[in-house]
């Protein structure tokens, strides 16, 4: 049979965001895969440079719709370290509780998406029904379903009232029971196992070589969890166990995620029982002293790193975000090759991709090597690029950019 090339994306029902996977098929077998991302560049990092730290907080929170808390935590940590401010313990604990609730809802979301990709809509509906319970609690704690906005520079904005703690405990009991059922189902349902095991293989060595992070690497038995190896917020006190699995395939990633929900439930219970009293925020200066900081957190999808460079004003000089999906793209190509076309959506979904989080940086490579371009040169390049595609952008007027230095 001759080879055919089919594009999965940028618009495709299995992808919730734009990304293009050019798959070369021999029959139903994938012989080559090209990962193409970059359809959703939003200029978030650049926007951060033009706004104050407190305004950036809300931009950073919107890097990702699902792991918004982990991004804002990483950013806050970086700015707090620059300013030399230690946040109150109670705030650190509330950050941990939010982070773990977020992990729960993100993993339940993943379970649903994965089930939908393999045509198991019943599991999809049930796991999203239970996710809704977590979201309700998050909305009550933070004030919104996904962009909780609970972090602020120097602490958290809202307190956790005792009656809310009871509501959280009640929710945890329900979700724990449901989740136990999903674990049992994942292990005993034949069609699930048939569709998930043995596909998207990523060996221990490959996971290390390709720099996979989060559940993808932990399912390949790489013991990386930022909560364990680089403790932040209150993770130095809250007992954390990194879940690892040696299946090295999509099934392993599913197992790691459902077990992590159980672990998160345990951690939230512990944090609620040992929540210290005290202030919610520490005093933060508006102008952040010069310096640069690299901060990282464990997002539900893996390691999330933020780099912030301050220049002594109330606006950052440079903000760089590397979301977890960005680290995992490299392993996707490797995982896709050799599997069936039917497995492509679930393999892509198995890294829990977040396309918009990733589409942020531009690296220009040419024969002359890598170059650093200024704003005007970048615009010239953009106009020429689109002219070739039959679209003249030179007539569009944009405001002259003020360089804040």
């Amino acid at each position: 049979m001759s080879k055919i090339t089919i594009p999965i994306g940028p618009q495709h029902p299995s992808l919730k965001e734009p990304g293009c996977f050019t798959i070369t098929l021999e029959g139903e077998k994938v012989v080559n895969a090209v990962v193409g991302v970059g359809y959703n560049h939003r200029g978030l990092e650049k926007a951060c440079e033009a706004r104050t730290y407190i305004q950036d907080l809300y931009i950073i929170e919107r890097v990702c719709g699902i792991c918004s808390h982990t991004h804002s935590t990483a950013f806050c940590q970086a700015v707090e370290e620059l300013a030399g401010v230690e946040i109150p313990r109670r705030a650190a604990y509330i950050r941990v509780i939010m982070a773990e609730l977020e992990r729960m809802h993100s993993h339940l979301l993943w379970l649903g998406v994965a089930a939908h990709e393999i045509g198991f809509d019943t599991l999809f509906m049930y796991s999203w029904r239970d996710r809704e319970k977590v979201l309700d609690i998050l909305a009550e704690l933070g004030g919104n379903r996904v962009n909780y906005g609970i972090n602020t520079l120097g602490g958290v904005r809202r307190d956790l009232e005792p009656q809310m703690a009871d509501e959280i405990r009640a929710m945890l009991d329900i979700v724990e029971e449901q989740n136990k059922y999903y674990i049992q189902l994942a292990l005993s349902e034949t069609t699930l196992a048939a569709r998930l095991s043995g596909i998207g293989k990523l060996s221990h060595e490959d996971a290390l070589r390709l720099g996979a992070v989060g559940p993808v690497s932990r399912a390949s038995n790489v013991d990386t969890d930022i909560r364990v190896i680089d403790k932040y917020a209150a993770y130095d006190e809250v007992p954390v166990t990194a879940i690892t699995d040696d299946h090295c395939d999509v099934f392993g990633r599913a197992v790691v995620r459902v077990l992590e929900i159980m672990e998160s439930i345990k951690m939230i219970r512990w944090s609620l029982d040992n929540l210290p009293d005290g202030e919610l925020t520490a005093k933060m200066p508006r102008r952040i002293p010069e310096g640069e900081v690299f901060s990282r957190t464990e997002a539900p999808r893996g390691e999330d790193t933020h780099y912030v460079r301050a220049n002594g004003t109330d606006k950052p000089d440079r903000v760089r975000v590397r979301a977890a999906s960005e680290a995992n793209w490299h392993s996707v190509k490797h995982m896709l090759e050799g599997d069936y076309l039917a497995d492509v959506p679930i393999i892509i979904a198995a890294i829990d991709p977040c396309y918009s989080c990733t589409d942020r940086s531009i690296v220009l490579r040419s024969a002359a090597g890598e170059r650093v371009w200024d704003w005007a040169a970048l615009r010239r390049y953009g106009i020429e690029h689109y002219k070739k595609q039959g679209f003249d952008a030179s007539k569009i007027k944009i405001a002259e950019r003020k360089i804040i230095r």
Binding site: R62, G143, N144, N147, G149, Q184, L187, S188, T191, A193
Partner: protein, 119 residues
């Protein structure tokens, strides 16, 4: 563990006659927590026109204007709901406590102009 297909059947059948988990919105009303960050509320009496909320707004959605004279100040708050991201940072920034949020989330309208509201 022993594997067999259709393990979820019992679980699904149990829910066949139970009340659906979904809500027929907008026919049925959504339950919104009182802590939900919806449209903000403005109390002009305490406002001193410091414009801290305007400075901190990440979306440039809010503006405070003096409609009175220089001596006899009277402030008005204008909010563009199309720009507002409902972060409620203005509520935190206000030193006088004249801004607060309400759980009102049903704010959609047919025209952009109607989204520019005076609070």
């Amino acid at each position: 563990m022993k594997r067999s297909p259709g393990r979820i059947a019992g679980f699904a059948l149990k829910h066949l006659l139970k009340k659906p988990a979904t809500i027929a919105y907008p026919a049925a009303k959504l339950e919104i927590e009182p802590h939900y960050r919806g449209k903000i509320q403005y109390n002009a009496d305490d406002c001193i026109g410091c414009n801290l909320c305007v400075r901190d707004c990440p979306a440039s959605a809010i503006s405070i204007v003096n409609v009175g004279t220089k001596e006899e100040k009277k402030f008005e708050c204008h909010l563009n709901l199309g720009h507002c991201i409902f972060c409620a940072q203005c509520v935190d920034s206000c030193r006088k406590g004249c801004l607060s949020f309400t759980p009102n989330i049903e704010l959609a309208d047919m025209s952009r102009e109607a989204l520019k509201v005076k609070l």
